[in-house]
């Protein structure tokens, strides 16, 4: 139910984009990291607070209480405001809190979602929050519902290297423009997309799997249009598919 949950947002510009939502497991792991960070910070600061207590007496002890209070109560709040929706744990796991309408996160939303954390933690170990995000189609805990926020997965996305796949290689099919035209007519958009995606992912494929995939694709395309023997002589299945894709996507 949760796996692959996405938040679809339609813009006034008339396009729809999807944001992949983080599930309870990845969120729980981020929370675990955050708690580990806070407790590590407590342990690191303990000797310093002891020194403060010794050196400054009452004021040192007060500073210690204040530092511990601020760290435990405001860690999530401050790091989500300053980190644009990311605590350290969320950053490690590639998660980000954002407005459920796809807009920028406002500080008031961060305050409210962290205020309601108390209810999410009940009765223990975030049971209420965990159960709520399991049942909610947007994987929201109570704090998210109250603040109108969602936690999304952010992957570092780079521009695909389409030019590298299509450009710079000799295509023997170009000598036969009438057959290329027939190919464009007979190949469906889905088949073309599948062939292109296979070429883009070629470096990630195992040799045996790649051979099998290209063989099947080449077989499909061969049945659509018969190119003369001298044009396809010596072409491997992969080269055949590459030529087909070049013919499909290249402008006439």
């Amino acid at each position: 139910m949760i796996r692959g949950a996405v938040l679809n947002i339609a813009t006034p510009e008339g396009v729809t984009f999807s944001l992949p939502l983080a599930g309870p497991v990845s969120r729980g792991m981020a929370l675990f990291i955050d708690f580990a960070v806070v407790s590590a910070a407590f342990n690191l600061l303990a000797p310093l607070l002891g020194l403060l207590n010794l050196g400054l007496g009452d004021f040192g002890a007060a500073a210690g209480i204040l530092i511990q209070f601020i760290m435990s109560e405001t860690y999530f709040l401050v790091s989500e405001i300053l980190g644009r929706g990311q605590t350290l744990g969320k950053k490690v796991l590639g998660l980000r809190v954002m407005d459920e309408r796809g807009l920028k996160l406002r500080p008031s939303q961060v305050i409210v979602r962290n205020l309601v954390r108390l209810a999410d933690m009940l009765p223990a170990m975030y049971l209420v929050g965990g159960a709520c995000s399991l049942l909610n189609r947007r994987c929201q805990r109570l704090g998210d519902i109250a603040a109108g926020t969602v936690v999304v997965r952010i992957a570092r996305i780079k521009q695909p290297d389409v030019e590298n796949v299509l450009g710079g290689k000799y295509n023997s099919f170009r000598q036969l423009p009438h057959l290329e035209a027939r190919l464009r007519q007979k190949v469906s958009a889905e088949e073309a997309q599948l062939a292109l995606a296979t070429l883009v992912r070629r470096p990630d494929l195992e040799q045996e799997a790649a051979n099998q995939l290209f063989s099947q694709l080449a077989e499909i395309f061969r049945e659509k249009v018969k190119f003369p023997e001298e044009t396809v002589f010596g072409l491997t299945d992969e080269q055949y598919v590459r030529n087909v894709v070049d013919s499909l996507y290249r402008k006439k």
Binding site: E13, A62, F69, K104, R106, S108, L118, I157, A189
Partner: protein
């Protein structure tokens, strides 16, 4: 139907690169979308990217490219459509002297509800204490109130040793009080998520304790001590708790949706900034109350005459009343009020 993908990418890539670069600059705060010329350029780039995503989607082309463009559009949408949605920048004094009291007044009914619940609780507490004086051990949560009668406590506190009890501990006592009170108040607001029921119970219980303590001291003839002890910090601390109740009741009402046709998400979204403002104001009030409780309230006569403490406490009440009622008022508020 099938577009020339390589050529399309080659032609559009400079615009995507520019848009991505500028989005990075905006999110890092290097540039601002408040600049009209710049925002027009960004809007142009955003619309172009949207159109590209539309073309790619219609062509059913390469999914990796589609994912890339979707991510770019998502970032652009968040930046461009959020312009003007939030405050241009947080100005502390403007928030404290304007936004906070205005927010309090906007939801005055919730404060009144919070006040009424506490008063009803106080009356019940006083009645219970009056009917059964032995119930103080059950009603009072603090041992220093149950282990001694008010008269015994006053006698002890008025001795020099009593006043020096906190010598060397005031700062940590004050900080501990602040931290504890802020936590309790945050709980009162958060309990609004139980459709306001948790907040109602908390306010009522708080009132019961307050009413019982007040009657206990009055019956023992220690009204002046009580006022001198409670007023300096209580005149800020008790209203802060009432404000926390106001926040909790607001959340409860938004959940129930009473007299509101908006959907749940819209209702919650509308009150979120006000809840955040109330919580910020409550925290400041409780920091002040904590300092006063540790450094002022714990000194009693003869070290600090009661009239000084009572006058100070009453002055705080007058100031707080003025602050919450009049501070940040605009001309339209006054016309509306009249």
């Amino acid at each position: 139907m099938i577009i020339d993908l390589a050529k399309f990418v080659e032609k559009e890539r400079p615009y995507w690169d520019e848009f991505e670069r500028e989005l990075n600059r905006v999110s890092e705060g290097i540039t601002s979308l408040q600049d009209l010329k710049y925002s027009r350029r960004m809007l142009n780039l955003f619309q172009r990217t949207c159109a590209d995503l539309g073309r790619i989607g219609a062509a059913n082309a390469e999914p990796e490219l589609k994912t890339y463009l979707e991510a770019l559009v998502a970032r652009g949408y968040a930046e461009i459509h959020s312009v003007g949605a939030g405050a241009p920048g947080f100005r502390f004094w403007h928030w404290l002297l304007g936004t906070f009291p205005q927010t309090f007044r906007r939801h005055l009914w919730a404060f009144h509800a919070s006040w009424v619940l506490t008063v009803v609780g106080a009356v019940v507490g006083a009645v219970l204490m009056g009917a059964d004086p032995e119930s103080r051990e059950v009603l009072f949560p603090f041992s220093h109130l149950t282990e001694q009668t008010p008269s015994e406590r006053v006698a002890r506190e008025e001795k020099k040793e009593g006043s020096r009890e906190l010598e060397g501990y005031k700062a940590r006592f004050s900080t501990g009080l602040m931290a504890n009170n802020i936590k309790v108040s945050i709980n009162a607001v958060a309990l609004g998520l139980t459709y306001g029921l948790g907040t109602v119970v908390l306010l009522f219980y708080n009132g019961v304790i307050l009413g019982a303590v007040v009657l206990d001291y009055i019956r023992d003839g220690q009204l002046v001590f009580l006022l001198g002890w409670l007023l300096p910090h209580g005149s800020i601390e008790i209203p802060a708790i009432l404000l926390a109740g106001q926040g909790g009741i607001l959340i409860g009402r938004a959940l129930i949706g009473w007299r509101n046709r908006d959907g749940l998400r819209t209702r919650m979204r509308k009150i979120a900034p006000d809840i955040a403002t109330l919580v910020g104001g409550i925290a400041i009030m409780l920091v002040w109350a904590g300092i006063i409780e540790a450094f002022f309230s714990q000194y009693h006569a003869p070290v600090l005459p009661y009239w000084v403490k009572i006058t100070f406490g009453l002055s705080e009440i007058v100031f707080l009343y003025w602050f919450l009622t009049w501070c940040g008022r605009t001309k339209s508020d006054e016309e509306g009020g009249a």
